[in-house]
Symmetry: C2
Subunit: 120 residues, 2 copies
């Protein structure tokens, strides 16, 4: 399975899709364009971001925001309020626990259930 | 943290290094060149391979072997005997449980403990 080919199957922004699972963890791909992700946190789960293509603006409550470029990784520790956005399309790999809710306890128009994030 | 820059810090082949952790999982980088990895399996843990650069020969007991190219991912399910090798240098990201032993129950000259795989 090739990451770049898998991204071609993903048409919607803010819609993570599962491409594999290892034990208690999902590997997901997501395309981000715009600012629709609300501030949120994951009370019990760390979250791994890896920028495959594009630029991602990463905001963390109480800290300086920063840009992630291609090849950059960042781990948000559990309980930390954060949001990400991108002016242009950005392709991201996520590694999350199977229990991780998309936008934590916050529900918004883009929030996806695990069922919505089905395997591709 | 940039993946390509992190690989510059890794000098030795067959020596995975931890670059991050999310919950019960380690994110590791490893450079592979040659055929020193013995056949092994991980009794209780799936293992995720992602080729960042180069080509990786993947062998699975009882199945056809295959080449992984840049951008390819593959998950070896728990208990499955496997080994990987590469003629030229190949850069790989691994996602493994914290309990995963480098070469399973098999010990060889290249086997590294978790302490040997220390954070960079």
């Amino acid at each position: 399975m090739n990451i770049i080919e898998k991204f071609i199957e993903i048409k919607d922004y803010f819609s993570p899709r599962i491409i594999g699972e290892i034990n208690d963890v999902f590997i997901k791909l997501v395309k981000i364009k715009g600012e629709k992700i609300p501030w949120h946190n994951h009370k019990n789960e760390d979250e791994f971001f890896y920028v495959i293509e594009g630029k991602l603006l990463f905001e963390i409550e109480g800290k300086d925001s920063f840009i992630m470029n291609k090849g950059d990784i960042f781990i948000v520790k559990k309980g930390i309020n954060h949001r990400v956005s991108s002016d242009e399309e950005c392709k991201v790999m996520l590694i999350e626990n199977k229990t991780t809710a998309h936008t934590g306890d916050v529900k918004s128009e883009i929030t996806k259930s695990i069922a919505d994030q089905k395997h591709i």
